[in-house]
C-alpha cells in the first residue's frame, strides 16, 4: 500500500514534469522562450505527526531546513529547481523497545543534508486567476548522532540515524490581478515517510532497531504569496496546515529568488 502510494506520487511528479510544457503551449500564446536562471535561498519549517509502523504509536517530526535553490525557468511560468540544504530534524519521544536495553528517545535534533527538487508549471494563465501545478520532493539524507546511555554500570552509547522523504504535489490557485503581488492557495497531496534506526553499543552488548514511519495526514492546504521586488527579486511566503484524524500539523516556507 505504502509502496503503491509512493509510486503514485513519483508518477504524478513525472507526469507533471513531462506534460507541463505541452499544457503551457496549449493554454497561452508562445512567448519568447528565454531560459532564466533563478538561484535563491529558502527556509522551511514543518511539523508532521507520524505513525510508527511496527507499534502504531505516534511521534512528532519537526524539521527546520535552510537551503539553496538552483532554479531554471525554461519558459515563462514553467520552472524546475534543485534544492540543496541542511536540516535539523527531531522526533519527540520514540520508543526503541527491540534493543537489548530499551530506549525512550527524546534526544533532540539530528542534522543532515537535504536534497530535493521542485517543479512549478502553469496550467492556466489568465486574469484574474491562474492555476499552477506545484510539486516538490525533499530527501533528508540522514546522519549519525551519538548519545550516552545514562545510569549504567559501564559506559554505553546509542547512535541514531534518521532519514525521511517528503513529496507533495497539487494545484496552486493564484490571484494575478495585483501588480507584483500574487496571493495563492495551494492544495496538496503531501506524504512523508522514512526510517529511524537506533544502534546500541554497551561494551559487548549490541543491538540495532530500525523503525519505519509515515505521516498521519496526506492532504494539506497552504496560503501564500509571491511578491515581486525590484531587481528581479521574488519573495515567497507560505503557511500550511495538514489535518489528520485527531489533529493538525503545520508548515511554513520563506523563499527568496533572483532571476537572471
Amino acid at each position: 500500500m505504502k509502496k503503491r502510494l509512493r509510486w503514485l506520487i513519483v508518477s504524478l511528479l513525472a507526469l507533471v514534469l513531462f506534460t507541463s510544457p505541452l499544457v503551457i503551449a496549449q493554454t497561452r500564446p508562445q512567448a519568447a522562450s528565454l531560459s532564466r536562471f533563478q538561484p535563491g535561498l529558502r527556509f522551511d519549517y514543518f511539523s508532521r505527526t507520524v505513525r510508527w509502523s511496527n507499534d502504531e504509536t505516534t511521534s512528532e517530526l519537526t524539521s527546520y531546513i535552510g537551503s539553496l535553490i538552483l532554479g531554471i525557468e525554461f519558459r515563462p511560468r514553467f520552472s524546475l529547481a534543485a534544492i540543496l540544504g541542511f536540516s535539523s530534524s527531531a522526533f519527540d519521544n520514540v520508543m526503541f523497545s527491540q534493543l537489548p536495553i530499551s530506549i525512550d528517545f527524546g534526544g533532540g535534533g539530528i542534522s543532515s543534508y537535504v536534497l530535493g527538487g521542485e517543479i512549478n508549471a502553469c496550467l492556466l494563465f489568465g486574469p484574474p486567476f491562474g492555476i499552477d501545478i506545484v510539486g516538490q520532493f525533499l530527501a533528508y539524507l540522514g546522519a549519525n548522532k551519538e548519545w550516552d546511555v545514562p545510569g549504567l554500570a559501564v559506559s554505553g552509547t546509542v547512535e541514531g540515524k534518521q532519514s525521511w522523504m517528503r513529496a507533495s504535489i497539487g494545484p496552486q490557485f493564484v490571484y494575478r490581478e495585483f501588480k507584483g503581488f500574487s496571493p495563492y492557495i495551494y492544495l496538496s497531496f503531501d506524504y512523508v515517510w522514512g526510517t529511524f534506526t537506533m544502534k546500541e553499543t554497551i561494551q559487548t552488548l549490541t543491538g540495532e532497531e530500525k523503525k519505519e514511519f509515515r505521516g498521519k495526514g496526506v492532504f494539506g492546504v497552504a496560503l501564500g504569496a509571491d511578491i515581486d521586488l525590484p531587481a528581479n527579486i521574488r519573495i515567497k511566503g507560505e503557511a500550511g496546515v495538514y489535518p489528520f484524524e485527531g489533529g493538525v500539523d503545520y508548515s511554513a516556507v520563506i523563499k527568496a529568488l533572483i532571476s537572471f
Binding site: 519549517y45 511539523s47 505527526t49 511496527n54 507499534d55 502504531e56 504509536t57 505516534t58 511521534s59 512528532e60 519537526t62 519527540d92 519521544n93 520508543m95 526503541f96 523497545s97 527491540q98 537489548p100 536495553i101 530499551s102 530506549i103 525512550d104 528517545f105 527524546g106 534526544g107 533532540g108 548519545w147 546511555v149 545514562p150 545510569g151 549504567l152 554500570a153 559501564v154 554505553g156 546509542v158 490581478e177 495585483f178 503581488f181 496571493p183 554497551i202 561494551q203 559487548t204 552488548l205 496560503l223 501564500g224 504569496a225 511578491i227 511566503g237 507560505e238 503557511a239 500550511g240 496546515v241 485527531g246 489533529g247 493538525v248 500539523d249 503545520y250 508548515s251 511554513a252 520563506i254
Partner: protein, 456 residues
C-alpha cells in the same frame, strides 16, 4: 488604484498573520510537550503488539473527561462560553488551582478534545483526567518484609531488625510496571525439589519435574531449601498469600538433585542441567556448588548456554573463592550476596568470576508446609527468613526470566550482559566498577526492563 493597494496590504497582512499563527501554534504545541496526540505515559500503557508479554493494563484516564486550566486573564464569562463551544459541561473546579474538570461529548475522544483545547489560546493547558495509582505492589501479605524487592526501611520479619537503607533493593515494583513476565517463561530450579502443595508453588510449577536423587519424575522437596529458592524466584504473586516472587507470572520447573540431608552428586547436577535444557527451561537457577571444579557440570552448562538458557548460580557462603559451577564464568552468572544496606555480606564468596549480586541476607521465602513441624515448631506459617547466596541467585534467575519474557529474542549472553551492565555499583566507594566482591553491583530491574530515557 487605492482599493487595489488596500487589498494588497490586507492580503500581505493576512499572509504574515498566517505564518506567525502557524509558528505560534507550533510553539504552543512544543510548550505543552509537543504531542499532537496524547501519548501513553511511558510506564503506564504499552502496546501488546508484536507478541510481547503481559503488561500492566487498564484505563489511563477517566473516559469522557478532561482537565483544563484557562489563562489567568480569561474571564469567567469567556470560560463558560468556551466550555459551551466545546459542547462540554463543567463537572467541578479544583479549588485554588483554577482547573476545571469537564465532561466532554460522546462523539469526541479524550485525546481529540485535549488536543483541541490545547490549540485554544485562552487555555493554559488541557489534559486527560489521568488515573493515578501506586506502583505495582502485590497483595501478598508478607511482601512488606521483602526488602529485597522494595526496601522502604521497613521491618523485615526479625523483631527489632529494620530493613536498612531505603532503596537498597532490586527495584522490582517499578520493573513490574513494565512486565510481570510470561507463564511461558520457565525457570528450572535445580535444588532439592519443591513442595507441590505449597500455596506459593502449587499453581506455579510446570510439572512434577524430575528427581535425579531417587531417579523418578516427582521432585518433591524433602529438605526445604528447594522450596525456599524456587519461591524467591517465582512464588505465586498477588494471590493474597505469603510472599511475591521476582518473576511474577513465570513458572517453575523443579529438578531435584539434592537429598534430604542437603547433599547431592555432581552427576545429578550435570544431568539436571541437561534435563532442564531439554525440557523447556529458559532460565536455570542453581543455589548449590562445590569448591572443586566440576568438569561434567561445566559441559552441561555449555550445553544449556548454547541453547540460549540463562544460568544463575550462587557464589557460595564461605567467604572464600567462588564455588563451581558459578565459577564457570563464560556460561553462567556468579551471584554474590548483599544485605538490606546494599553492603556485601561478609560470608559471600568472592573472586574475579563474580558477575553480579543480589540481596541474600535475611531474605523471606516459602518453606514446605511440613517444615516447621519437623523442626519442632508446629503451627508456624510455611515461610522462613534465610541468608546465603542461595537466596541471591534466584533473584537473578527471576530477573532473567522477566527479561526473557519481555524480549524472547535475546541470547543468553545478551541477557547476562543486560543484568551485569544495568547493575547499581553499590560498593563504588571501595571498589569502583566491576570488582571481585559484588561484580558489577547489585541488580537493578528497573534499568534493565524500563526503557532508559535519552534526553537532549
Amino acid at each position: 488604484m487605492t482599493i487595489l493597494r488596500t487589498k494588497k496590504i490586507a492580503l500581505i497582512l493576512l499572509l504574515l498573520s498566517l505564518i506567525v499563527t502557524a509558528f505560534s501554534f507550533q510553539r504552543q504545541k512544543m510548550d505543552r510537550g509537543g504531542h499532537s496526540e496524547v501519548r501513553p505515559r511511558r510506564r503506564e500503557v504499552r502496546s501488546l503488539n508484536g507478541g510481547r508479554p503481559f503488561h500492566v493494563q487498564g484505563p489511563r484516564f477517566v473516559p469522557g473527561q478532561v482537565l483544563v486550566k484557562f489563562k489567568p486573564t480569561v474571564q469567567n464569562q469567556l470560560i463558560d462560553a468556551t466550555v459551551a463551544a466545546y459542547s462540554s459541561i463543567k463537572v467541578k473546579k479544583i479549588p485554588r488551582l483554577e482547573v476545571y474538570q469537564l465532561r466532554i461529548p460522546e462523539n469526541i475522544t479524550v485525546e481529540e478534545m485535549v488536543y483541541a483545547l490545547n490549540q485554544n489560546p485562552d487555555v493554559e493547558y488541557a489534559e486527560p483526567n489521568f488515573i493515578v495509582r501506586i506502583t505495582v505492589t502485590p497483595n501478598d501479605p508478607l511482601f512488606e518484609y521483602q526488602y529485597a524487592l522494595l526496601n522502604t526501611g521497613q521491618e523485615i520479619g526479625i523483631p527489632g531488625l529494620l530493613g536498612g537503607t531505603v532503596g537498597a533493593d532490586i527495584k522490582a515494583t517499578t520493573a513490574w510496571e513494565e512486565t510481570k513476565g510470561s507463564a511461558d517463561t520457565i525457570i528450572a530450579s535445580i535444588d532439592s525439589g519443591v513442595d507441590f502443595s505449597h500455596p506459593e508453588l502449587k499453581n506455579k510449577v510446570l510439572s512434577r519435574g524430575r528427581d535425579f536423587v531417587n531417579n523418578d519424575f516427582d521432585a518433591t522437596d524433602d529438605l526445604g531449601h528447594g522450596t525456599f529458592v524456587a519461591g524467591i524466584a517465582a512464588a505465586d504473586t498477588n494471590n493474597n498469600e505469603g510472599v511475591a516472587g521476582v518473576a511474577w507470572n513465570c513458572r517453575i520447573l523443579p529438578i531435584k538433585v539434592i537429598d534430604e540431608t542437603g547433599w547431592g552428586e555432581e552427576s545429578a547436577l550435570a544431568e539436571g542441567i541437561i534435563w532442564a535444557a531439554d525440557n523447556g527451561a529458559d532460565v536455570i537457577s542453581i543455589s548449590l556448588g562445590s569448591e572443586d571444579p566440576l568438569d561434567s557440570v561445566r559441559d552441561a552448562l555449555i550445553y544449556a548456554h548454547d541453547r540460549g538458557i540463562v544460568i544463575a548460580a550462587s557464589a557460595g557462603n564461605d567467604g572464600t573463592s567462588v564455588f563451581y559451577p558459578a565459577a564457570y564464568d563464560d556460561y553462567c552468572l556468579a551471584v554474590a550476596a548483599t544485605d538490606y544496606n546494599d553492603q556485601r555480606t561478609f560470608w559471600s564468596n568472592f573472586g574475579p568470576q563474580v558477575d553480579i549480586s543480589a540481596p541474600g541476607e535475611n531474605v523471606i521465602g516459602p518453606v514446605p508446609n511440613w517444615f516447621w513441624q519437623s523442626q519442632g515448631y508446629a503451627g508456624e506459617i510455611p515461610y522462613a527468613i534465610g541468608s546465603g547466596t542461595s537466596a541471591s541467585a534466584p533473584h537473578i534467575a527471576g530477573m532473567a526470566a522477566l527479561l526473557k519474557s519481555a524480549k524472547p529474542w535475546l541470547t543468553a549472553d545478551q541477557v547476562m550482559d543486560i543484568i551485569r551492565y544495568t547493575a547499581d555499583d553499590v560498593n563504588s566507594g571501595q571498589n569502583k566498577g566491576k570488582d571481585d566482591y559484588l561484580g558489577y553491583g547489585r541488580i537493578n530491574m528497573q534499568k534493565a526492563l524500563v526503557p532508559i530515557k535519552i534526553s537532549k
